[in-house]
């Protein structure tokens, strides 16, 4: 007993803060300092060259409100996010339910559906740029016998981008849902079956409530990914046709590195940061409340 009590006293000594010092230094240099400066630059007219810069108050945000391209990009970003979140998670859930069943090919199917996740989004976008070929004999048109200008028609292009994002990441949602499904105790299903519950009822009243943590994670991941979407748009359409697929990330990139408006670009980045932070907080708050444990 004396040994255990002396050991307890011993464990009370925490490691020195020096353990965290190198990580903190790198983190402060690469993330914290630039982010804080970014907030400051958002209120200046800095051009990115030299030290010439003056504080312009909220002028960048005023410009933003009157900037059709940037305002349009906010709408596009939100539409893209809602579309990808809904479809990617819907498809991901169906795939998860499918490969969760005792199929002979389940291991292979999982690998197939997940594989695009590990490939660079830029490369996936280039592949899909061809799949979305306007030529009626090639790509998706050729396969489906359609004649759609998937990326060239301004009313279709945004949804085409959403389609390629869903294709690439549905497998990601799938594996998170699968992890959730594997955590649902078999006994609960058996008990519900004995009580006469059908497949749909068992899903609704047994599986679905217990999937809540997986739903939370999936919705957060896909929402944040959708809001920050850059690579796919940049590679497939570069925001076009016109400004039809411009997102917050492509606008802030162009404002900085094409037009040299660094101050304005960071103002757009700040808006994006606020969207991401707001969504994260709302999701954590509301989705945690409906989580139950098995």
């Amino acid at each position: 007993m004396t040994v255990s009590s002396s050991r307890r006293r011993f464990t009370a000594s925490a490691p020195s803060w020096l353990f965290a010092a190198p990580a903190l230094a790198v983190y402060a240099l690469v993330v914290l300092y630039p982010a804080v400066s970014g907030v400051v630059y958002a209120f200046t007219d800095w051009s990115g060259i030299g030290q010439d810069m003056s504080f312009v108050g909220l002028a960048n945000f005023g410009t933003l409100l009157g900037d059709d391209q940037a305002m349009g990009s906010i709408g596009n970003t939100l539409l893209l996010t809602v579309a990808t979140v809904a479809v990617q998670n819907g498809v991901g859930l169906l795939l998860a339910l499918g490969v969760h069943a005792k199929l002979k090919s389940r291991a292979l199917l999982r690998v197939i559906f997940f594989a695009p996740v590990v490939v660079s989004p830029v490369m996936v976008a280039f592949l899909w740029k061809y799949i979305y070929n306007p030529d009626p004999s090639a790509g998706l048109n050729g396969l489906l016998g359609l004649h759609v200008d998937w990326l060239g028609d301004p009313s279709v292009a945004l949804w085409s981008i959403a389609g390629m994002v869903v294709w690439q990441y549905a497998g990601y949602s799938m594996v998170i849902f699968l992890a959730g499904l594997e955590g649902v105790p078999r006994e609960l299903h058996e008990a519900a079956m004995i009580d006469g519950a059908g497949t749909l009822q068992r899903f609704r009243y047994v599986t679905w409530p217990l999937l809540a943590p997986a739903v939370t994670i999936n919705l957060m991941l896909s929402t944040i990914g959708g809001l920050k979407l850059f690579d796919q748009v940049f590679a497939a359409t570069n925001g076009g046709p016109g400004y039809a697929t411009e997102t917050l990330s492509t606008v802030l990139y162009k404002q900085a590195f094409v037009f040299g408006k660094f101050g304005y670009s960071t103002a757009v980045a700040l808006v994006l940061a606020l969207f991401v932070a707001a969504v994260s907080l709302v999701q954590v708050y509301y989705l945690r409340r409906r989580e139950v444990t098995a």
Binding site: W17, A23, L109, V118, A269, A273
Partner: protein, 270 residues
Amino acid sequence: MRKTFLLEIVMIAVAVAFLFPVYTLVSLSLKDPGQISRSPLALPDPPTLDNYGSAWTAAALGPSLVNSTVVTVASLVALIALGSFAAYFLARVRTRLGYGLYVLFLLGIVLPFQLGMIPLYELVNTLGLIGTHAGMILFYTGIQLPFTVFLYTGFIRALPREYAAAAQIDGASHLTAFTRVVFPLLRPITGTVLILNAVFIWNDFFTPLVYLGGSGFETVPVSVFAFVGQYVSQHGLVFAGLVLGAVPIVVVFLALQRYVIKGFASGLKG
């Protein structure tokens, strides 16, 4: 049993449809321009490997594979070392300051990198690290630390303190207790950290585009981007380049697929 059989047929059909883009990618990369315009959907007849040879040289994929490997491996080593050490402190400390520091790290998961992109560019430029491996390694280590610290801290908190304590009673310092006793116990979460960060760093496009563009130290996605821009209408050539660029990570994925899928399912970020 009949029900699973039907479901199996449906799922296989879905998988076949899902693979259509992959079929397009591979079959076009094996066709000459004539075949591509005549019969874009058919199987290559006869298949040719010419595109691969031309793409390998035209895209300069050799050097960018080396660059990607150097940047990814060095960043992973730094992330695992710095992240696990910091997490050991954050998971064991019981002061308010320690908790505040943990929250400060978590903030980095939510902040979009774009917010600090331009000041960071300026900073990296001042340090003379634009267009260098060191700049990229520093960047990825910083940007991925919050997530790495988050994963390690959660894992260490669930680990009994007695392991390290026993080593310390035997006279080991915190440093020895950590490196000899605790760190080896972290293997499962180190695997997750490794996989998620490796996929992110290897595939990242935005950062090397901004920080390495035109430097000769370009990583695979940037090289492929430049290559595609140059040969945009030669689909066979472009697709051979895409296949070559994707092969390393796909091979690693197939070799380690169980761990990769588990890592993604347990991690939080993509």
